[in-house]
Homo-oligomer: 109 residues x 2
DNA sequence: GCGAGGCGCAACCCTGTGGTTGCACTACGG
DNA sequence: CCGTAGTGCAACCACAGGGTTGCGCCTCGC
């Protein structure tokens, strides 16, 4: 399992690194599917800014948009987020192991 | 628990968003504690660049440096990483719950 | 058909920041 | 004591990217 390739992780991390983007995600999660215009109404930035963020988020796989008539409704997608959380956790475990190993060596085990 | 405040998460995410920074972390994890100069030798950037990255990483709590004579040895710190992984995972669960709720409403439950 | 609401595209500004180089300072080793 | 390895600081460059505005195009409603 975990087809979590480095590119995927990079996209998610870059996407999450921006506070406005996190705000967009938060708004989306709370309000349910919504359009860029609606989202922008509840955020301190313009619609175009929101659109750009949505593009990044969609590229990262954190969000998916589908057209309904003249609107585009965006929806949150938990999968990549979960995958990245896993990646980080296993990375942390890896560090821990190595630290223990180094410590053991240092203590002359 | 979860004393995971938003500021902490932000720092970690910003730190991890840069590929060079991830490379530095990786090198540190693999080689064990090392100085900026040593790290720079194994990376495609200058020592100063590595130093800057280490400053960011240390501010994020992903790394800690301690002075030994004229060297400064940096070490990986898994704690914040684990915490952030947790944060992301619980966020993903939250999204999932909300999606299920929305779906239920849509189906007229 | 026509106005209005919503999107998409493009140009543009400006700050943040990853990167470099150069130099001064400190600590080890002979 | 003096050379050298290692750090720290500062100036500087260049580009990415977050933000804005303006405009043209489609789609819905009357």
């Amino acid at each position: 399992m975990t087809g979590t390739r480095d590119g995927d992780v990079d996209g998610v991390l870059v996407a999450l690194a921006d506070p406005t983007r996190r705000a967009v995600l938060d708004a989306l999660a709370v309000s349910g599917p919504a359009s860029a215009t609606v989202l922008a109404a509840g955020l301190p930035v313009s619609r175009q800014a929101v659109v750009k963020h949505l593009v990044v988020l969609e590229a990262a796989g954190l969000v998916s948009g589908s057209r309904l008539g003249r609107e585009v409704r965006y929806q949150v997608r938990p999968a990549r987020l979960t995958a990245t959380a896993r990646w980080m956790d296993s990375l942390a475990r890896d560090w821990d192991e190595r630290l223990v190993a180094v410590k053991r060596l240092a203590e002359g085990g």
